[in-house]
Structures are given as structure tokens and as C-alpha cells.
Amino acid sequence: MSKQQKQIVYFLFFSILLLVGCRSSNQSIKIGLNTELTGEAPAVGASCVKAATLFVNKMNQDGGVDVGGKKKPIELIIADNGSKADEAVVVAQRLITQNEVVAIVGPNISSCAVPASEISENMGCLMISPWSTNIHTTTKNDGAFKKYVFRACFTELVEIPLLAQFAMSHLHLAKAAVLYDMSSESPNSAAHQFQESFLKAGGKIVAMETYTSQDRDFSAQLTKIQASHPDILFIPAYYNDVPLIAEQARNLGITAQFLGYNSWSTPEIIQLDSHHYLDHAYFSNHFSTESDSPLVKKFIQSYQSTYGTAPDDIAALTYDTMGLIVESIIKAGSLNRTAIANMMANIEDFTGVTGTYKFHQGNHDPFKNVIVLTIENEKFVYVTTLQPE
Amino acid sequence: MDFTPEKQSPILEVSLLNKNFGGMRTIIDLSFELAPKECLGIIGPNGAGKTTLFNLLSGIIRPSSGKILWFHQEIQKKSSSEIVHLGIARTFQNIRLFKQLSVLENIRIAYDIHLTYTPLQALLRTALTREEEKKSAQAAMELLDVFSITSLAHQPAGSLSYGDQRRLEIARALALHPRLLLLDEPAAGMNESEMYQLVELLQWIQKKFHVSMLLIEHHMAFINGLCDRTLVLDFGTLIAQGTLEEIRHDRRVIEAYLGEAVT
């Protein structure tokens, strides 16, 4: 063998060694967190990590999770998907094959959750998205549910029609304008869902205006909206855009009632709205901090004492997601991924901080109530609970 | 006056050529002819429009009016590369070599106009492509040998001495196998002996490759050694033409160079 050939062989040998890498296994329950720490929605990822860490610390302090008679601690593996679809796929694959997690929490943003769910489904690993509302996260193209993918929140198909109904029957306002972020997936579908539901409920849509992510000047669109004299301005937009839209709308003399949906629910929105333009605006949400349930109170208290802020809906949903996973691990009594996913599908009475979860009849989207909140005195105030039919 | 040494039909006819830049008329009603194998010198004070004339002939800029006939075919509207394909090659006053590429590559790029393979053949690297590439590399090396810069074949062209760069530029133009060579101050920046060597080389080239030449030069000795006839340009107009001897005694030429006071 010549020197040159030898070197090539060495090179290949080392590269294969490098590729095979090292695999390890220990006695903890590994749960992966595939979330948006960087990119367009860092606040979402931060809340998600906080709540999950809180949950894991609590469980580990209690001695861990009972798996088939043995107490095992939980190990949380946090990975950043940068709010990008391709990164989310790579992260999902890494969590499943490198870190060998038993279940994945996240991604939260639908554009990441949809592709990541395909990976979980193909590789047979439970994935629960706390916050993704896109129907394709849990369903395949033919409409059937993916075996391994669930979500902890309601979808916009549930939320938005109830919100439209609320606007018509509670607020008695029938002329709506919509200003939405067209380049973001969730606001875009919420806007179109609202248009459909509001028309069905007997209302009238007088203006549909759009902007793109990162825009800060909405005056042209708002001037156009003002010319159509709406009673309601529905703003499906992420929390950092909403205060700006509200301020510019009020400054232009728009007096319409503001209406929002669950993307508003981060407490940041109140901090950004220092001039209270958003006071008395209504929005639908997953979660209210004003609940009387001891479970919720305990959660809020421990969250507040650990992080100094009140939890938002993403934190609450992540907390519930972790609870759901642990619940099905206990029920399954093993760390077998398929067994855990099967147990998950049979959960009918899990009570979390955002309400009671039911996954009946093979439905992987939970059956939950929609809560309506309003903003008063720098606080989210509970208004009413809407029951889906 | 008898313009052409031999009674042959001219290969290049320029008639009533004009070029305006904004309001500036750089070339005004210029007409001349070039016979086969003739070497025509162009002289004139700075700003007389000599380089502009070359740019017009080589298609880098388009004339405002007038005609350029090359073998009785109008070329004034053709692009620079089309004109090259018709057989007119040029060098530049401020050398424009591909400075980061090697000397050999400079020549090969010029030689590429003789290669006939199609894009598909290039992508698949067929036998024809390989053969032509091989030939072109050989031819380029032979040309470098003629100019005795073979030893520099793999140096970046920008690292060559000034005189070598001038020669390389001429070699590169010759690789196009032109029938007319436009040389813009080929001897600029050369010392006496280098200049004479260049004259000899150009004479040899003219004989060997049967090219006509049109050259801009300030050194009268250079013109004297090479050119059959000389045109004198001043402010864009042709003020005199003929042999160097005839021009030397032309009143308008003397005026243009030395001012009106001397008569």
C-alpha cells in the first residue's frame, strides 16, 4: 500500500470515527425542548424554557417520576431552533437520535412546528407543541391525525369563531376592520378565519389591511381603515406590533374597539403600551391568572417567586405540556416512546393550569374552553369563558 | 497625393466619422483608408482624439455619425467582441491585462475565440473539447516563446515589468489572429533599446502574420521604423497625412505642435 493510499484510508477511518460519534445513556428521563430562543420570537422561547425548567425542578425535588415502580429524575434538554423551519427539523432530529429523548416539547411557532412534527411522526417520538395553532401541526395531508403529535392549545378553528361570536353578541358591534401581519403564518390565518366567522355571525368586514413583519409604520393602512369607519379593529399581530398599531390608530382618530387573539397574551404587551392605548381592548386567550383553582394559584406563585414575573399563556401551556408528558409516562410505566404516545392519546381528564384536557376519539387537539381577557390598569383582567359547542 | 503604396482596395475605410461627448466634439469628420498589410501611424498632440478613434474602431464606443467599413462591411454598430471576431484586435494605452491571472491564462483567454466546442460539449468534456483545450494551451505557449516570456508563463501578469506587460498585451492581441492590429502607444514607458527591439519584433510580426497595423505613438523614431504612412490628428480633425517626411514639412502640423508663432 502506497503512502498516499494509506493516508486516504486514515482520513476515511477518522472521519467515520468522527461520524459515528459517541452515544451515552443514563438513568434519567430525557425530555427535549425544541424552542425559539433566537430569531423572530425570542420571548416565546424564553417563557417556554422558564416554565419547563420550573416544572422539571419541582418534579426532581419531589424525587422524580415514577416509571414502572422506579423513581427517575427528569433531564431537560434545551435546544434553540432560531425560529427557522430547517433548524427546527435539524434540532428535532438531534434531540431524537443524539440525545435520545422520550418526548419533545415544542416548537411553538407553527412554521417550525409543522416541519418538526413530520420528523417526530416518522421517527416515532412523542411531540407536543404548546402553542402552535396551525391545523397541519397535528394532522396529515389527508386530514387524519399524526400518531405521535399533539398540541396543548386549542386551534384557531375553535378560538376565532368564538371570538367573532363574542364581538357580535356581547359587544354588539357589527362593522369590523382587520389589520394583520401577512407574512406571519398564525396572524394571517387568524385574520382570514375571523373574516369568515364574522360574516357568518352576521357582521360586516369593512377593511382588510396587511403589513409585513418588522414594519413599524402603519399610518397608511390605518388612514385607509379610518376612512371605512369600523366599530371593531381586529388586530391579529404579534405582541410587539400591537401597541404600535394601537397608538397610531388612536392618534389618527380611530375610536373603534380593539380586538385581539391569543398572540397578545405576553405581559410584555402591557409594558410596551405605556400610554394605555390598549385599555379595554378584548382578546381571547388560553389562560387567565385570575383563576380560583388552587393548581393555578400554586403555579403562578412559584413562577412569580422564581422569575419575578407573572406567567404568560406560553408558560402555562408549556407547564401543562410537561404535565401531560409526565402523566402519560407514569401511565405507560415505561420509557418506550410508542407506549407513551399511545397513553397520551387516551388522556381524558388531565387538569392543567389552562383547564381540563381531553383527547377523545383519536383527536389530538385538546377540547378546551376559550377565555376572554381585557386590559385594565396594566393587568389582564378576566372577562368571560367561551364554551365551544 | 498618392495615399496607398499599392493599388489595392482598402481593407478599412473610415468616412466622415464624428463623435460627440455631450457638447464636446472629439472626432470631427474624420476620413481615411487603410490598405492591406499597411502600417499606419497616428500622431497628434494630447487630447487630439487618437484613443477615441481607437475606441470607435474597436467598438468600445459608438460613433455619433459616420461609417466604418471593414472589408466593405459596416461595423460601427457592432459590439467590441463582434469586431474582434471580424479580425480587429487592439492593445490599450494604460495596459489592461488580466492582472491576477497568469501570463499563460491571459493568452489563452484571447485564443479562446478559435475554440469551437459547444457549451454542452464543454460541460461533458468530450474528446473535441479536450483536444481543443490542449491545442490552445500549446499555441499559447508557442506565442509566449515568440515574445520570449515563456519563463514567466505562470507568473501573475500584474507582477511583470512594464515592458513585459506591454509585450504581453501585444502577444495577447496577436493570439486573436487579427488582420488589423490597433496598438495604442506600444512603446510608452520603454527605453531606447527596448523600443528598437519592439520595432524589430513588430516588423517581424507584420511579415510573419500578414497583419495590418494602426499605431498611436509619440516617438517619431518608432513611427519612422515601422509606418508606411502617418495621419496627424489635432482637435479631432485630420490635419495631414502622408509619409513622415511629407508631414514633417506640413505647416499645419508644425502649428499644431509648436504654435502659430513659428512659421
Binding site: T210, Y211, D217 | -
Partner: protein, 291 residues
């Protein structure tokens, strides 16, 4: 009619902010023929610095503006010294890549320090005037006023002072200027500082108008302002302004007349059309080349 006038006001406001950023691009390009892609991030830092300043000591607007311009100006000069000067003689492309890299570094450091968008405090009492259905806020007037003032000051400085003359001379021939005994490096640093200060001022005004400050605001606005500078003819100060107003009014107009989803499509198509007919921008001149 009210509607149209209102939209015209919107266009002017948008245009004047684009203009202020575009000026910074043009200034640096004019002197170094280098696209400083980090400019958008200096703009963002301007807003952040002012935010920080107001958190520590609440200052009046003019003082905050001056301080912000000063500090970000120094930062711009520092950036030039550390990142751009070492590669001034490298191929042009590496300068572009370096500026892209610097922009990303600045943006991501800010993101790491402050992952959430922040609210910008108001620096003065904003009052809103309504006449005949048209709405103007005092903020809008101040923003447009300060932008125009800065633009005029810059124009006067470039045209009428010795320093301006040196800057213009640098744009023509850097070597010659240094041969004349003028400290070219210092002038280049100063120009960078000036460009950065303008960007920072724009950042501050922008943050006042749209009081949410986030680390990603530099990229979106920066690219748009850059396009504005190119439409007008990059390197040309007046062109930058013209481009900014054209871009601002096109955006507003396309929202007014058509479904707003097509705004970007129309704005960028306009840019392409302008560059097809005027390849070097409306007021730009093609680079002269001696053959």
C-alpha cells in the same frame, strides 16, 4: 381629499426617516465607495442607547439627541478603525462582507443583551392636532423638522466648509488627498462618525415615532433606506433624499390604491424599473473609466 392629504403627510414622515438613514449610507459610500451594511445596526443602536440614557437620567430631547449622536458617532469611528481600516486595500467584496458581519455582530449582541423589544419613553408632551379630518401630531412635526434640519446642515457642511471640501476630494482621489498633507485617515474616520451619528439620530427619531425598540429593527429599515439611497444614486446626498421620498410615497401610495399585501412587490418592482432606465440611480452618474 382629507384622506389624500393625510396619506401625503404619512408619506413625508416615512420618507424623511428613510432619508436620514439613506444619507448615512450615501456619505460613507461617497467617500470610501463602500456599502456599509452595518449602518442599519448603528441606527438600531442609536435607538437603544437613547433608551438606556433615558432609563438612567431622563434628559430633554435635544440633549439626548446630541449625546446619542456623539456616542454612536464614536462607535462608528471605532468600527471603522477596528474592522474596516485593516481591509481598506483588500478586494472591495471583503469590505462588504465585513460590514455585513459587523452588522450581524452588533445586532446579535443587542439581541443577547435584550431579547425582548423595549418601550421607548416619550421625551416630550405629544399633542395631536385635528383640522378638517386631517391629523398631525407635534411629534410628526418635530421628527420631520429635525430630519430636514440635519439634512440641510449636512448639505451645507459638505458644500460650503473646508472639511466638506476635503470629504468631497477624498471621494475623488484618496491618494492625492493624503499626498497634500491632509490626514486622510482621520477624515475617513470622521466621515464614518458623521454617518453613524446621522444613523443614530434617525434611530432616535424613529424610536420616538414608533416607540417599540428591538434588535431586529435595524435590518428591515436599514435595507429599505439603502434601497432608497440606490434609487437616488448612491454617493449623492440629494439623490439619497430624493430616493427616500420616492420610496416612502410609493409605499404609501401602493397601500392607498391597491390591497396592502402588494406593497413590497410594488415598491421593489419600482426600484427595478428605475434601475433599468437609470442604471446608476436618478441623480447618480456612471463611474468614469479611462480606456
Amino acid at each position: 381629499m382629507d384622506y389624500i392629504i393625510q396619506q401625503v403627510i404619512n408619506a413625508i414622515q416615512l420618507g424623511s426617516i428613510y432619508g436620514l438613514i439613506a444619507l448615512g449610507y450615501s456619505l460613507v459610500y461617497g467617500v470610501l465607495s463602500m456599502m456599509n451594511f452595518a449602518h442599519g445596526d448603528l441606527f438600531m443602536l442609536g435607538a437603544f442607547f437613547c433608551l438606556l440614557l433615558e432609563k438612567i437620567i431622563p434628559l430633554p430631547l435635544w440633549l439626548a439627541l446630541l449625546l446619542t449622536m456623539l456616542v454612536i458617532g464614536c462607535l462608528g469611528a471605532l468600527l471603522e478603525r477596528l474592522a474596516y481600516r485593516p481591509i481598506r486595500h483588500a478586494p472591495k467584496v471583503s469590505a462588504i462582507i465585513t460590514s455585513l458581519g459587523c452588522g450581524l455582530i452588533l445586532e446579535n449582541i443587542t439581541l443577547a443583551m435584550s431579547p425582548y423589544p423595549r418601550h421607548m419613553p416619550t421625551l416630550f408632551q405629544n399633542s395631536i392636532f385635528h383640522f378638517h379630518g386631517i391629523t398631525i401630531s407635534s411629534l410628526q412635526i418635530i421628527v420631520i423638522g429635525i430630519s430636514l434640519l440635519l439634512m440641510i446642515l449636512l448639505d451645507v457642511m459638505i458644500r460650503c466648509t473646508t472639511l466638506g471640501m476635503v470629504i468631497r476630494a477624498l471621494a475623488w482621489n484618496r491618494l492625492m488627498v493624503s499626498l497634500l498633507g491632509i490626514p486622510a485617515n482621520r477624515i475617513i474616520s470622521f466621515t464614518f462618525a458623521l454617518g453613524a451619528a446621522l444613523g443614530a439620530a434617525a434611530g432616535l427619531l424613529y424610536a420616538l415615532t414608533y416607540p417599540v425598540v428591538s434588535s431586529s429593527m435595524g435590518i428591515a429599515i436599514g435595507w429599505k433606506a439603502f434601497i432608497a439611497a440606490v434609487i437616488g444614486g448612491i454617493g449623492n446626498m440629494r439623490g439619497a433624499l430624493l430616493g427616500a421620498f420616492i420610496l416612502g410615497s410609493t409605499e404609501v401610495m401602493s397601500i392607498t390604491m391597491l390591497p396592502s399585501t402588494y406593497r413590497d412587490l410594488i415598491a421593489y418592482s419600482l426600484l427595478l424599473i428605475i434601475l433599468i432606465f437609470k442604471p446608476y440611480g436618478i441623480l447618480g452618474e456612471p463611474p468614469t473609466q479611462k480606456i
